[in-house]
């Protein structure tokens, strides 16, 4: 079933509210007027009762009949029945009076064949227990007609006002929801090409401003990721273009004329180097793509970090000894992580650190075990990195050293991006700080439970 639109829902709610309120008011009014009529009738009948009692104080006399007729003639819609104490009907002022009348003392209402009566039962002589009974009947048909007409009017009012508020409400809701429609129009216009569209936050009603703000923030994040993604694809094409064009040129030039076998060998070797570089690039990009899709699922094996770091330092020892760089490690911690992934992440950091450490410098790895989690820092002495470049270090293909151009070195500039992916896959964070002659990569990892 299709859900009702917001404006129709609001319109219906408005209509229902108006109907309930006007119905309540109408019922109250009709009850009040009915009560008012009853009160008027009571007063009238009470007055008449006094007159009748006076006229009939000596009921046996013939004059009393004249006085009675006189009394009754003053009020055309009033009829009277006098009943003896034995229940015998003594007198009816009109022949059309109903046979059965209510016997309850006091005021009551009776409907007989289309005529409505207000009936008052009272003894003729107040102090005599066996007094004849007076039954006064007041024809109130016109009152009842009035009340009935009023009830119809109330129903009509309820219906019409509900209809009117429904229509007005629909209009009001529609115009009240206009900012929402504007939002949806902008949202439906958003595509990969127009991620820079934003909702005007300042002239939004306060209720929608927050939504507009989150919506804009979402667009901003999408835009950012999309920019990175398209930059990544452009970078891939760019990175692959250089080795590909080398391969093409070299192979074609080699084949243009017969050459000594040694030249072919040389050409193949040179091609092999380009190809290996490309294969490494493709493998690294696949790794990052997997990370982007959340497919890097680290195994959780208990690790002694000091042991892992020492193994890595031993691995890098030949490289460090070459430039007489000191490699040290301090601290230890246990954690659950994927051994191969962790080694890969740290190896990228160490490799990076060693490349930027001047001869006879120092590379230090520190492991700090804290209550919240653990911190791993890899720091190297050296010139440091310009603070403005720090956030971009983990971007793919980013190279802090502008002298090192694409294709010209064996480093594609994906190492730090891979390290970041691995750290994130373990639920951690990595950042870089630089200053006072040190560059420091800080990894913060939550403890495996």
């Amino acid at each position: 079933m299709r859900r009702l639109s917001l404006s129709s829902r609001l319109a219906l709610l408005f209509a229902a509210c108006t109907a309930v309120v006007s119905l309540f008011a109408g019922v109250l009014f009709s009850h009040a007027s009915e009560a008012h009529f009853v009160e008027l009738d009571q007063q009238l009948l009470d007055g008449k009762l006094i007159g009748l009692r006076r006229a009939l104080h000596d009921i046996q006399s013939s004059e009393s009949e004249i006085r009675l007729a006189d009394e009754l003639s003053r009020q055309a819609d009033l009829s009277l029945r006098i009943t003896g104490s034995d229940g015998q009907r003594w007198y009816d002022s009109s022949a059309q009076l109903p046979d059965k009348l209510p016997q309850t003392p006091g005021l009551s209402t009776l409907n007989d064949g289309g005529t409505d009566y207000r009936v008052l039962n009272a003894p003729l002589f107040v102090d005599k227990p066996d007094s004849p009974q007076l039954t006064l009947l007041l024809d109130i048909t016109h009152h009842q007609h009035f009340l009935q007409r009023m009830q119809h009017l109330i129903w009509l009012t309820v219906g019409l006002s509900a209809l009117a508020t429904a229509l007005l409400g629909a209009w009001a809701a529609r115009s009240g929801l206009r900012p929402l429609r504007r939002m949806s129009a902008i949202a439906s216009g958003v595509s990969a090409q127009s991620l820079n569209a934003r909702l005007p936050e300042e002239n939004m009603p306060p209720e929608l401003a927050e939504l507009a703000h989150s919506f804009n923030a979402m667009l901003g994040r999408l835009d950012d990721s999309f920019q990175r993604l398209s930059a990544f694809s452009a970078d891939i094409a760019h990175e692959l273009r250089t080795p590909l064009s080398n391969l093409l040129t070299h192979t074609q030039v080699t084949l243009t004329r017969p050459r000594p076998i040694e030249d072919y060998r040389e050409a193949l070797h040179s091609n092999l180097e380009e190809l290996q570089w490309m294969a490494q690039l493709v493998n690294d990009m696949l790794y990052l793509a997997k990370a982007d899709h959340g497919l890097l699922s680290p195994k959780r094996e208990p690790l002694e970090l000091a042991q892992e770091v020492d193994l890595l330092l031993e691995f890098f020892a030949p490289l460090a000894e070459d430039t007489r760089v000191t490699l040290t490690r301090e601290g230890n911690a246990q954690m659950e992580a994927d051994r191969t992934m962790l080694r890969r992440a740290l190896s990228n950091l160490l490799d990076n650190a060693l490349r930027f450490t001047p001869a006879e410098g120092e590379v230090r790895v520190r492991i700090v075990d804290e209550a919240k989690g653990l911190r791993l820092t890899v720091e190297n002495s050296g010139d440091g990195i310009d603070g403005a470049l720090l956030p971009r270090l983990f971007d793919r293909f980013y190279r802090a050293d502008p002298a090192r151009q694409e294709g010209s070195s064996e480093h594609a500039g994906l190492g730090l991006a891979i390290t970041q992916s691995i750290v994130r896959a373990h639920g951690g964070q990595i950042r870089c700080e630089s200053g006072n002659g040190w560059t420091r990569f800080v990894i913060e990892l939550p403890k495996g439970d």
């Binding site: 070797h269 092999l272 180097e273 290996q276 294969a279 490494q280 493709v282 493998n283 690294d284 696949l286 790794y287 997997k290 497919l295 890097l296 699922s297 193994l311 890595l312 031993e314 691995f315 890098f316 020892a317 030949p318 490289l319 000894e321 070459d322 191969t340 992934m341 080694r343 890969r344 190896s347 990228n348 490799d351 064996e410 480093h411 594609a412 190492g415």
Partner: protein
């Protein structure tokens, strides 16, 4: 030594066969899974190289059939998909090793040799030797032309690996994995430096060089008569 390659991509298959044949193996190539399975079940092969995606029956099904027939022929998987589940699946089914495309042929060759060696445990050796280079496994000493050479523990392990697999081209990734237990792709040049430092001690003072670089492929320890 008979090897079976089941690979449906003609170029890949032919180059693999050529490379393995030239490396001294008797390599057979089939392109579809069903024929591959029939041949594999004959039990005539010392090693199976299976592509995962194959027409007829895929690599996993062949592996399953081979294992349920009670054959323990070593199986090396080639896959274009680097999905973790793939590796886990393959290894659970009883694959012995896997390579993700694109891979280097030198890497494949080194793995093939490792797998073939695995079955035949060589007798306990006490020393390894090539030309005038001698490595004493018990006393952990190295000498060349009777001259004692001091090596670090890792240099010793590296030289031992080169000696055990003399004549084989060893790719850098394999050396990193075997000597340092670093099992990941890395573009670091640690291995180059380590080899250079080993050369300095083993080769530099001697006219007859034993460690050779095979450009773009790796390193080999062998005696080359100039």
């Amino acid at each position: 030594m008979k090897l079976l390659i089941v690979e449906d991509q003609p170029k890949t298959g032919q180059y693999l066969r050529q490379g393995l044949t030239e490396a001294g193996f008797n390599a057979e190539l089939v392109a579809d899974g069903s024929t591959g399975q029939q041949l594999a079940l004959s039990g005539d092969y010392a090693l199976l190289i299976l592509d995962v995606m194959l027409p007829g029956r895929d690599g996993w099904q062949i592996l399953q059939a081979v294992r349920s027939a009670g054959l323990d022929t070593p199986v090396l998987f080639l896959t274009a998909r680097d999905a973790v589940e793939d590796r886990v699946h393959g290894l659970e089914l009883g694959a012995d090793d896997y390579l993700v495309k694109p891979f280097a042929f030198s890497e494949l060759l080194a793995r093939v040799r490792s797998l073939l060696r695995r079955g035949s445990a060589s007798p306990q050796e006490t020393s390894l030797q090539l030309a005038d280079l001698r490595l004493d496994l018990i006393r952990r000493r190295v000498e060349r032309s009777g001259q004692r050479i001091d090596l670090t523990a890792k240099e010793f392990a590296l030289l031992e690996m080169l000696l055990r697999r003399q004549g084989e081209v060893l790719p850098k990734s394999l050396i990193a994995s075997q000597v340092w237990d670093m099992n990941f792709d890395s573009d670091t040049n640690v291995i180059e430096v380590a080899i250079r430092r080993l050369r300095l001690k083993i080769d530099d003072e001697f006219p007859n060089k034993l460690i050779h670089t095979v450009r773009g492929m790796g390193y080999v320890l062998e005696e080359r008569i100039a």
